[in-house]
Amino acid sequence: MIKNFLYSQKVAPYVFVLPFVLVFIIFWVYPLLSSFGMSFQKVTLGQEASFIGADNYTKLMGDTIFFKAVRNSAVYMILTLLILIPFPMLFAVLINSKAMWGREFFKSSFFFPALTSVVVAGTIFRLMFGEMEGSLINSILGVFGVEPIKFLKGQTTGFIALVALASWRWMGVNMLYFLSGLKNIPDDYYEAASIDGASAFQRFTRITIPLLKPTTIYVLTISIYAGLAMFIESMMLWNGNNSPKNIGLTIVGYLYRQGIEKNNLGYAAAVGIVLLIITMVINLTQLAFSGMFKKEED
C-alpha cells in the first residue's frame, strides 16, 4: 500500500522536492520568522526573552552608528557597481574581439583572484595597504614622491583599499559572465550593422549593450546583494570588527557586533530585518525597472 502510494506519479515529485521543502522551512522560513519575532523582543542567549514592541526599531532609528553602517554598506555597494559592471563589460567585449592574442591565458589570469578565500585575500590586501613606507602600495606611491599613507586609518583611503579588494577578486568573474553573455549574440547582427555603416561605438551601444541586458541584470542583482551583505572583507582588512571611528563598519558587521559580540540578539535581529527590507526593495525595484518580471510571463 505505502509502496504503491510513494511510487505513484502523483506523489513522486513531492518526494523528489521534499529535501528542498524541509531545508527551506527549517533553515529559511523558521529562522526568518523567528528573526522577525526576535526583533520585537529583548533576547539574550540563555535567558527568557521579553516582548518589547517596536522598541528595537525606534532605538535603531536614533542609532548614529547604525546609520554609519548603512551608509558604509550603501557607498561600498554603489562603488562596486560603478566599477564591477562597466569595466568587466568593456573588457569582455575587447577580449572577445576576433583579433586577440592570448585570450584564454588572460581569462584564466583574471579569474585567479576569485579562487582565494576572503581570509587570504583580505590578509594580502591588509598588508599591501599597510602604512609603512615599504608596503606595496606606499612604495609604489613613493616612486611618485607621495608620502606614505595610513590607508586603513582614514575613511576615504580605507574605502579605496576595500573597493580595490572587491575589484581585484570579482573583475574576472564578472568578465566571464559578460563573455558568456556575448556568446549568445549572433555574429550576423554585427556583420549586418557593419554593412549598414555602423561604427564600433554604435555597434557597442546599439547591439552589445541591449542584448547583454539579461547578463547585466544578473550581475547587477548579485552585486547589489554582495555589496549590501559585505562584512568579512572589512573584518579582514581591519583585523576585527572594530575599525577606527567605524570607518569599515557595515550593516552585517553591526548585526554581528550587536548579536554575537554584545549578545543583544533582539536588537541585532531588527538590524537584519532592516537589511532584508533594503535588499528586497532595491532588488525588486531594479528587476521591475528592467522589465524582468514581464519577461518571466511570456
Partner: protein, 277 residues
C-alpha cells in the same frame, strides 16, 4: 603595418598591463612566504626580490613545526568532500523533481528557490545561531553542512541543465516498467554527469573558502577549517606572520591546481546562472 596588427598589439599590451596588476598580489605573497615574518612586520608586503633574505624556513616550519595547520587543512578537505557530495545529490534530486513533473505548488516552490538566491544569508545568522545552539549542534560539522544541502544556485543550475533532456526518455523508462525513482537513478543521473563536474568544482571552491558561518559554529581548535585557522593566527596581541603567509600561500595551491586542470568546469559553473539557456 596595417591597422589590424596595430590594434592587436595595443589590445595585447593593454591586457598584459591589467593582468600584471591582477597578478601582483600573488607575486607579493609568494615571495613573502620565503622571507622571515619580521621582514613583513618591518616593511609590509612588498615586491623586493632579495635572494639573500629568502629561505625555505617558513616551508620547513609549515611541514615540521608544531601547529595545527594540517589538522585544519584535512578538516577543510573532509568537510569540502562531504559537503559537495551531499549538496550535489540532494540538489540534483530536487532539480529533477522540478524539471520532470507538473505538480501542485511547483511554481510557488520554485519562486522560493529564486527568493533564496536574493535574500542575504547573513540576515539568518542570528536565528540560525540560536537554532544550532538549541539543537545542540554547536561545534559540529552537521551545523555547517545541513543549511546548504539543498543549495538554491545548484538546484537552479541542474534544472536548467535538465531542461535539455528529452521527456521521451522518461516516458520510455515508464513503458519499460521502471518506477519513478529507478528512472531517476538509472536513466537521468548518468546523463547528468557533465553537469555534476561543474557544480562539484564550484561548490567545492565555495566550501573550501567558506568562512563566516563555520567561524560562528566552530569553537574547538581541532575542528577548525583552514580559513578559520588562518584567521586565528591574526590576533589583537600579535600576528603569527611566519605561518600565516606561508599557510595562505599553500592554501591557494590545491584550488589553483584544480582550476588549471578543470578550467572549463569552473567557468561553466560560474556562468551558468547568468545566461538564459
Amino acid at each position: 603595418m596595417n591597422t589590424g596588427t596595430l590594434r592587436k598589439i595595443l589590445l595585447f599590451a593593454f591586457f598584459s598591463v591589467l593582468c600584471l596588476l591582477i597578478l601582483v598580489p600573488f607575486y607579493a605573497v609568494t615571495i613573502a612566504s620565503f622571507k622571515p615574518g619580521e621582514d613583513l612586520i618591518r616593511y609590509g608586503l612588498n615586491l623586493r626580490f632579495d635572494l639573500s633574505a629568502m629561505s625555505l624556513d617558513n616551508f620547513v616550519f609549515l611541514f615540521t613545526g608544531e601547529h595545527a595547520y594540517f589538522t585544519w587543512f584535512f578538516n577543510s578537505l573532509l568537510l569540502t568532500v562531504v559537503q559537495v557530495v551531499l549538496t550535489l545529490l540532494v540538489s540534483a534530486t530536487v532539480a529533477y523533481g522540478f524539471s520532470a513533473y507538473e505538480f501542485r505548488g511547483k511554481n510557488l516552490l520554485f519562486v522560493c528557490v529564486l527568493l533564496i538566491m536574493m535574500v542575504p544569508f547573513e540576515i539568518l545568522l542570528l536565528p540560525l545561531y540560536t537554532l544550532t545552539f538549541n539543537m545542540g549542534l554547536m561545534n559540529s560539522y552537521s551545523a555547517i553542512i545541513l543549511p546548504g544541502v539543498a543549495s538554491a544556485a545548484t538546484i537552479f543550475f541542474f534544472r536548467q541543465y535538465l531542461r535539455g533532456i528529452p521527456k521521451e526518455m522518461i516516458a520510455a523508462g515508464r513503458v519499460d516498467g521502471a518506477n519513478e525513482y529507478a528512472i531517476y537513478v538509472r536513466l537521468i543521473l548518468p546523463v547528468m554527469k557533465p553537469s555534476f563536474a561543474a557544480m562539484a568544482i564550484l561548490n567545492g571552491m565555495n566550501s573550501w573558502n567558506n568562512f563566516l558561518w563555520p567561524f560562528m559554529v566552530l569553537s574547538d581548535e581541532n575542528k577548525y577549517t583552514l580559513p578559520i585557522g588562518l584567521k586565528t593566527l591574526l590576533t589583537p596581541y600579535g600576528n603569527n606572520y611566519d605561518l600565516l603567509i606561508v599557510g595562505s600561500f599553500f592554501s591557494i595551491l590545491p584550488i589553483l591546481a584544480l582550476f588549471l586542470g578543470f578550467q572549463k568546469y569552473f567557468i561553466d559553473g560560474m556562468t551558468a546562472g547568468a545566461v538564459k539557456g
